[in-house]
Amino acid sequence: TQLLEQSPQFLSIQEGENLTVYCNSSSVFSSLQWYRQEPGEGPVLLVTVVTGGEVKKLKRLTFQFGDARKDSSLHITAAQPGDTGLYLCAGGDTGANNLFFGTGTRLTVIP
């Protein structure tokens, strides 16, 4: 099993604040995905990064894949209540048929 550790596990912030969520592993992945899951629903893909050092922006969300392709970060600028949810990273391996999901970060943005 390829373990992906996310930190922090829980995060509660005020609307308008910035935050960063981390996803770390001792394994190298060929790709890294970030999903967001809202209560009572399945996860929904936010982004896929495939190149070491790659940075992708999605409005107020910035995703970075580590140079060694073992870690990733998600930065949210000026958080809004709509950003509340469980954020999951997932690593893909060219030799595997499935993704390895991280432990999750539960974000609450207080209005």
Partner: protein, 113 residues
């Protein structure tokens, strides 16, 4: 397109009972997956399939069985339910492996008492 559908949404089982969780997708995806998600945790892979007639074990397969007779359907069978199987179960599908997006169903919340 309905995407990935799962039934039932909720179920309570007694210890030792059996049931089948249904999953269907209408996107013609070859890859399908079953995950379980325990409270406050990420997803753990139970079983997956790379096409009709082909299934393989994931990280936590014990106590479960699957079949894949068609591209569309991927049912998960629980035999002799135990309290440790209380969880939320998600079915997902994807066009391919690795960097391809996985599309998830809405989940089935199962309680075993």
């Amino acid at each position: 397109n309905a995407g990935v559908t799962q039934t039932p949404k909720f179920r309570i089982l007694k210890i030792g009972q059996s049931m089948t969780l249904q999953c269907a997708q209408d996107m013609n995806h070859n890859y399908m997956y079953w995950y379980r998600q325990d409270p406050g945790m990420g997803l753990k892979l139970i079983y997956y399939s790379v096409g009709a007639g082909i299934t393989d074990k994931g990280e936590v397969p014990n106590g479960y069985n699957v079949s894949r007779s068609t591209t569309e359907d991927f049912p998960l069978r629980l035999e002799l339910a135990a309290p440790s199987q209380t969880s939320v179960y998600f079915c997902a599908s994807s066009y391919g492996q690795g960097l391809y997006e996985q599309y998830f169903g809405p989940g089935t919340r199962l309680t075993v008492t």
